[in-house]
């Protein structure tokens, strides 16, 4: 390859798409490193504290797409304190200075401010796409800035963010000249929406293919929007609260058959069973259906819809679907690849839900199933073993038995054998979440068989340090390990310290690691940040006086080339 001129090498690298492959290619030799870094257009930073923004942009001056993730995954479940960090502003500031050609920015679990959004909007003349997932810290004022200054904006995708409502006028800030929108998702906004501004915006964007409305958008508005947007591929319906006896509903019913391109349907926040009939005409072409935010739709009504959806590839539902409903999924949705079943009644009043029966049915009826998120009240080893046999193609398998540490109800055994069967059979498994009663044995299996595993989530499991050690010594592709409420201590933590530099991060909370153990880890591995998150106000002022045997509530360990971070709040100590 050294005989080839750089342009040729660069051209070859055009075909090397994935981040990992490009990262690998850049390590071959200095020449390749140079060619690669100058031709790189997309950068993905999995941990915003692993490297500083300036360094990324100095290395890759030509990027037009940047993706950054902030808080640890367990922040989704309120385990990470509110102001832990993950600030987007430094990245926006650096990009404004060093990468003015930026076109796309994708942020996940980060703190984004209105100032940051305004800076973003004003700094990048070619800006086309903003995707914010599970972020917080901004308001509709920030959105107004994006609308105002991003000429040629194609995509504004807000997924599950906490957005402060400062009024509904932000939509009106899209100038009349804005006709370029392809994708608009504001489903997570809680405040009122200016229906007229929305309707006019939709009317003047002929390329709009994806539109996801917030619950505040009324059905009357939805009707007007649908009249103008019959080329939609992806629709989030907004509230869908309509009385099926009204004219409004009849208009809605007459709209849906016109959507020949519709493949992806979600929303239905306040839908009642009767008005779901309006969507029946499009069900037969749907590939993605998300009814997981529609608690009023119970099992039988879900079944009526699902038995029409024979092309479905992705289904998200609530557990009110029941085992019976899942049997219908199994017999109808032969193309199904991804299934997510969420708990309807989180506070556990014992309403209908799903058990191992439902999962068994789906595993035997849906041969293409490769991704699962399943909340259930119980699971058996026998079922898991059968599921493993039926579906050897799982890449993501997340099972959550709602009662922590619950064994197999039939045999009263831990679920080691069941999960063991899963990892043995599913050679490509990349993501795994465990639950139920589990001993060290399951970790032995995981360490032995889960060669491609990248992310492992463990809760209320294991008997001793051995469990964690099996995982750290096995699983050669492990990138993220998150553990809560397990009896793993310093011995496990310190057994294989080199491993952490091959991983993105380790999270441990409510385990048995001590201050002494973490100090030892930090001393041995200078290129790791060992963060101790101490919310107990009594102790953090006396950190010097804390004994090494003091058990730590939460630790977050991650590799970094940026050293300890300078934006850590008081309750975070980096050792």
């Amino acid at each position: 390859m050294t005989y080839f001129p750089e342009e040729v090498v660069e051209h070859i690298f055009d075909f090397v798409g994935s981040h990992r492959d490009r990262n690998t290619v850049s390590t071959v030799c200095k020449a390749w490193y140079q060619v690669e870094r100058l031709s790189r257009r997309t950068v993905f930073v999995g941990n915003c504290y692993a490297i500083g923004p300036e360094r990324v942009m100095a290395r890759f001056p030509g990027i037009n797409s940047l993706s950054v993730k902030g808080k640890p995954h367990f922040a989704d479940f309120n385990l990470v304190p509110y102001d832990w960090g993950g600030f987007a502003l430094p990245w926006i500031v650096a990009a404004a200075r060093l990468c003015p050609g930026l076109e796309e920015l994708r942020l996940k679990r980060m703190v984004v401010t209105d100032d940051g959004l305004e800076l973003l909007a004003r700094s990048f003349p070619n800006f086309k796409s903003l995707v914010l997932i599970s972020c917080e810290g901004f308001s509709t004022d920030g959105l107004a800035a994006i609308a105002t200054y991003c000429r040629g904006l194609r995509e504004l995708d807000l997924q599950e963010n906490e957005v402060e409502d400062h009024g509904c006028q932000w939509l009106s800030f899209f100038p009349d000249s804005c006709t370029s929108l392809v994708s608009l998702n504001f489903g997570c906004l809680k405040g009122e929406v200016n229906g007229g501004a929305l309707e006019r915006l939709v009317a003047r964007c002929p390329n709009l293919r994806s539109l996801k409305l917030s619950p505040a958008v009324s059905v009357e508005s939805l009707n007007k929007i649908l009249a103008r947007a019959s080329h939609l591929v992806d629709l989030g319906t907004g509230s869908f609260a309509v009385d099926h006896r009204t004219d409004v509903y009849h208009t809605l019913m007459n709209s849906f058959p016109k959507f020949k391109s519709l493949r992806n349907l979600s929303g239905f926040w306040d839908a009642s069973p009767c008005c779901l009939r309006a969507v029946y005409p499009v069900c037969t072409s749907l590939t993605v259906l998300n009814l997981s935010y529609a608690p009023a739709i119970q099992g039988d009504d879900l079944i009526k819809i699902i038995c029409l959806c024979f092309k479905l590839q992705k289904l998200w539902v609530l557990d009110s679907i029941g085992d019976k409903g899942l049997a219908v999924v199994a017999s109808t949705c032969k193309e199904l690849q991804e299934l997510r079943v969420f708990p309807c009644d989180i506070y556990g009043a014992g309403t209908t839900s799903v058990t191992e029966e439902g999962l068994l049915a789906v595993s035997s009826g849906c041969p293409k199933l490769n991704s699962l998120l399943y909340f259930c009240y119980q699971m058996t080893n026998a079922a898991l073993i059968t599921v493993a046999k039926n579906c050897p193609h799982f890449t993501r398998f997340r099972l959550c038995i709602l009662d922590p540490g619950k064994p197999d109800p039939v045999t009263n055994q831990p679920l080691d054998e069941g999960f063991g069967a899963i990892v043995r059979s599913c050679k490509n498994i990349r993501r795994l979440s465990l639950s139920g009663r589990l001993t060290d044995q399951v970790f032995l299996y995981i360490g032995m068989y889960a060669e491609r595993l990248e992310m492992l989530s463990i809760a209320f499991a294991g008997d001793s340090d051995k469990g964690m050690i099996y995982v750290l010594n096995g699983c050669k592709n492990l990138r993220k390990l998150e553990i809560r409420d397990c009896p793993f201590g310093d011995i496990a933590l310190l057994k294989n310290v080199a491993k952490y530099e091959t991983m993105r991060s380790l999270w441990m909370s409510s385990c048995d690691v001590t201050l002494g153990g973490c100090k030892a880890l930090a001393a041995k591995m200078p290129r790791l940040n060992v963060e101790i998150i101490n919310e107990n106000e009594e102790t953090y002022e006396f950190e010097e006086n804390l004994s090494d045997r003091h058990k730590l509530e939460k630790i977050y360990v991650y590799r970094t080339v940026a050293g300890p971070r300078n934006d850590a709040p008081d309750f975070v100590w980096t050792l």
Partner: protein, 190 residues
């Protein structure tokens, strides 16, 4: 239950905050563990099929079940809003000839003309003399005292019962229970 209490001292938990002891498990004596788990399960099974469900303590484990706080919050909020929304209905005024005051009914709670007629009869019972207050079918007109009529969207007074129920509900603005003799002039049949 007594045994259970004694066991608690040696009972192994997996450190669920909110339950009694926040002891971390040390060395496990499997038998003890199993026994306590079984007992927990029994309690739980009963709790399940019963009305009150699982023990309250379980719901207090921080960050469990691992459902995104966004999803949990949106359910909680919708639940609260729903309670407020349930109070809206399709209320129309009902007048009855000869009655000193009007009433209001929510057409949304009825599914058929039968239901509505029964309800109106019950409502205006005190004002009528005859056995059958309101005509049920067209031919009853001669036997009953009153007929139900309604004002539609166009402002016309129509005899109730001619069009499908849903259509009636969506076009009815108010109801009037007319004296039979006046109502005869409104029948659709010639």
């Amino acid at each position: 239950m007594e045994d259970h209490d004694n066991l608690k001292a040696t009972e192994l938990t997996l450190g669920l905050p909110g339950t009694d002891a926040i002891e971390k498990p040390t060395t496990a004596a499997p038998n003890v563990n199993k026994r306590s788990k079984e007992e927990e399960e029994e309690e739980e099974c009963c709790g399940f099929t019963g009305s009150s469900g699982r023990p309250a303590a379980k719901a207090q484990v921080v960050g469990w079940p691992p459902v995104r706080s966004y999803r949990m919050n949106s359910f909680r909020e919708r639940k609260m809003e729903k309670k407020e929304e349930d109070t809206t209905g399709i209320y129309v005024k009902v007048s009855m000839d000869g009655a000193p005051y009007l009433r209001k009914v929510d057409l949304g709670v009825y599914n058929s003309y039968e239901d509505l007629t029964d309800a109106l009869e019950a409502m205006f019972k005190g004002f009528s003399l005859g056995k059958r207050i309101i005509q049920r079918q067209a031919h009853d007109l001669h036997e009953s005292e009153h007929a139900i009529t309604y004002e539609d969207k166009d402002g016309d007074w129509m005899l109730v019962g001619d069009v499908p129920w849903e259509m009636f509900v969506s076009s009815c603005k108010r109801l009037r229970i007319m004296k039979g003799c006046e109502a005869r002039g409104l029948t659709s049949s010639p």
